[in-house]
Assembly symmetry: D2
Amino acid sequence: MTTIGIDIGGTKIAAGVVDEHGQVLQKTRRATDALDPEAIESAVIAAVAELRVDHDVTGVGVAAAGFVSPNRDGMVFAPNIAWRDYPLRERLARGIDVPIVIENDANAAGWAEFRFGAGRSARSMVMLTLGTGLGGAIIMDNQLVRGAYGAAAELGHMRVVPHGHYCGCGHEGCWEMYASGRALTRAARMALVTDEDRAGRLRELAAADGTRVKGQHVTQAAAEGDPLSRELVTQLGHWVGAGAANLAAVLDPELFVIGGGVADTGDLVLEAARAAFRAELSARGYRPEATILLAEMGGDAGIVGAADLVRY
Amino acid sequence: MTTIGIDIGGTKIAAGVVDEHGQVLQKTRRATDALDPEAIESAVIAAVAELRVDHDVTGVGVAAAGFVSPNRDGMVFAPNIAWRDYPLRERLARGIDVPIVIENDANAAGWAEFRFGAGRSARSMVMLTLGTGLGGAIIMDNQLVRGAYGAAAELGHMRVVPHGHYCGCGHEGCWEMYASGRALTRAARMALVTDEDRAGRLRELAAADGTRVKGQHVTQAAAEGDPLSRELVTQLGHWVGAGAANLAAVLDPELFVIGGGVADTGDLVLEAARAAFRAELSARGYRPEATILLAEMGGDAGIVGAADLVRY
Amino acid sequence: MTTIGIDIGGTKIAAGVVDEHGQVLQKTRRATDALDPEAIESAVIAAVAELRVDHDVTGVGVAAAGFVSPNRDGMVFAPNIAWRDYPLRERLARGIDVPIVIENDANAAGWAEFRFGAGRSARSMVMLTLGTGLGGAIIMDNQLVRGAYGAAAELGHMRVVPHGHYCGCGHEGCWEMYASGRALTRAARMALVTDEDRAGRLRELAAADGTRVKGQHVTQAAAEGDPLSRELVTQLGHWVGAGAANLAAVLDPELFVIGGGVADTGDLVLEAARAAFRAELSARGYRPEATILLAEMGGDAGIVGAADLVRY
Amino acid sequence: MTTIGIDIGGTKIAAGVVDEHGQVLQKTRRATDALDPEAIESAVIAAVAELRVDHDVTGVGVAAAGFVSPNRDGMVFAPNIAWRDYPLRERLARGIDVPIVIENDANAAGWAEFRFGAGRSARSMVMLTLGTGLGGAIIMDNQLVRGAYGAAAELGHMRVVPHGHYCGCGHEGCWEMYASGRALTRAARMALVTDEDRAGRLRELAAADGTRVKGQHVTQAAAEGDPLSRELVTQLGHWVGAGAANLAAVLDPELFVIGGGVADTGDLVLEAARAAFRAELSARGYRPEATILLAEMGGDAGIVGAADLVRY
């Protein structure tokens, strides 16, 4: 009852054989070119063939960034790869003779967390992946919520500030602009201007990298104890919690799971998120409250979730 | 296969026999006292007995404002009735020998709309009930989303403005404070101060009622064509649409249905909501868009939805 | 060279003889009725006569809430007294044979602070009076800024939050709604709902007064060290400082002086205001920064300022 | 009684002889290098010498971007030229033997408008210069308001949106980010994403220039009648008027004058600004209201204002 999970990124694919307990039994990778859909398909097909040499598998789950069609057979739109209303399952089926399902990558990662990670005891959960942007996944009553058109859980694009920061999506005030690595980068650059005296450690880290300050420098400096960086991460955690309180009004989940690179700041972002969640939760005291936990699955979450979703 | 639906309000209960097509075959009402839970139960039991004289029913659905326990057997909390972790099903079962389910009233009304009204062709839908406040219901993949603790779809308490208007819930900037009858009342009272010259019709209507201006005066004057009132309703519609765009980022539903008293302004609020939805929808043009329609079920929606939910 | 200062309130007038060093040599009071302008005038005339028995005075300065005409001879509008384009100087001159000037009460209090209090060494200053509302006074280059129509320094009505809290003035998001006794009252009432566990001391103080919680309870509890109340005052101080940073962009004063009842929290509100001012000041580091101090003149500021303004 | 005005820009200086009626009698220009303060000084000295061949002048006024010292003898800080606490008057006096005053360029332009342009009948006025950014000047009681440290009237850096757009100054939500050419550029680029169907004319104009869309394309298309561009300018005008209402609460001026490139859209921006000003003005109806007019002085305003300020 093993399946294969594939995580298609912008520059490579990662593939793995996953058993029914979420264990990755074997992995492989291949470099790809986002501009060449056919080459991506060949790479997926080759990776599957390689993994099947030593493993019997009953299906293949493929995760990619973008909107997935509701019946999971193709991509409606992808931000990084030239897919538009693209029949990805049919294309892959030319070289793969077991069932294939396509899934959004944030959904796959959230599903892995739900099944085998921080959410394994929950029936409903919201995953918040704080990477460069803010991705999400929603599971309600043990079901992944995909939406009518495969575009649900684009949580980073809830508007949290009218007339707020301009998002790459063309709108103002998206949650992602306040709670993501990108937000941390912007906050750090502002602090260099407005809080120059306290920004020494950030300048050092950036200088050592030969780059402008970015979010990773803040998470690193915060881990070391740099006061300014800890403030910036706390502020970000505040926005995470405030947005989670909004989602609790909509979905009333049992659990929020915070993952992605920003989550590496651990307790700092977690405590700030929990405090803001408590402060902003409507009807607090008149209802049970969701728990907020850090993710546990790490970098293989996409592979594991995609593989497991073949069974659902 | 008929069932009974009960809508418990603050001052009365309404009960009806409903067939499997959502038709109300017979109705009855009883005055009640929100401070006396036992009297409410007796009234429900008596109403059910009365209706069963002429109808075979297979179950009873009971709708009330508040948080319903996840397994639909009681009330976690009610804002208007003295219920707190209250075993309402067990209490009613003392006098009713068919299956009973308890449901939140906004969920029941939304379900009626989903099954027999504006949403009857949809698989996923969000109901927005613009009454005094802003209530909601969420249906995804033909399932009512109740949340882990029965508190889902409290849509009016999403925060749309940081540091915004104070809501009775204790928080600032709740959507309800911008998109509800209460919001319309506040906007009208502000307009009396800041736009005195154009507020003549509103002052007349309030004077005729012997009250301060309120939301109903605005909807009436807007229907008559009063320019200021039409602006106020349009502004409200804008907030409805902007909030719906937020929900689309989370849920990606096929349909939004706008009901409640404010929806009586018809096309005016609908067109404003649609325009704002289009303007604020993330990734517009790269995904199919939800439709926004007015509700069709009218005042019996609570009864019909509660009755039908017995079957689900 | 002594003059008389009169402070006309809603229920009483206070009058005093003031020397050129801002010392009050003699005081008197009279109860008045805001609905009876003639009685107010008689009371002012009688108070002046009483004080002149023992003092030679060269003029009378009268302070009152509202908009004062640019040439200081009357009231354009008063919020609490039935004055509208009212020739107050001419009316008082019937019983007072020395020069009379009329001045806005917040301007008079700010002027007293500028001449004899915290601002006595400054050339330019902004006074922020945090009472029930938020009043202000602006002195630039040793001149009181009255505006073209006597309505300058209505600082509480700068908008600091689009779509924010509804102000009695008919607008949303006025600074006064975030930085005043009224704001503190609202924040405290919200905290009773959202932070119930920590609001014990506030509930006690309100119960002891037999009223709902209000701003004064918060300032008292904060002075005692109550953690929740200290947070609420700190939050208010944040808004004070953020608004002051806005004013610094407009006016670049040398000094801000914080007075009024909320200022009785002393260092707590002061430090919070200073921190937010530093954080929000544009071009910080490229310009000298204004100082922020607490007021020193206490309750006679209106009398002293009005008396002194006769000389300017 | 003629004087010389000098406008020092980033790449050139413009100089003119101006009579006491604000007429420019002779002009000259010189290219300069912002990185070479000495060369700038030599250019100013040479320009003055050239103009004095045919004109007797009693003083020289020099306008430049940045903070000017309160006694007008030097630059505290300049954003574009390497001046920091720089004794510019002393440096220029080495080659100019008549009195010299230094002034901020936006102040000089506003002063020209006040003395000879749209504000020539006013006693108090606020100038809003909508160029790439938003500059300002404040005149109260016929006096230019310079502030304690020469940094007054940095109006573009009032915060109008908490958590709003990131300004180059390091802060969020500055007025300049909503009411300037830069704001128009951002709004246009957003509209290309969110309102693609209606953005044809903007795309054409940008393509013809071989650049990305920018503010000038919007003002041009708006002048032609392009509906989307007219909306964008109207929206900008709204922010202009809303900010002006804030300033009216602080300063109560008689007049606002709107200048700069965005003002070339004329009635469109003017009417939108007036409407928002009326809608947002506190205590409207209880006080006389400021007028809002377009600037009249055109491109020589800096020279004329600097020259005239020598006399004040």
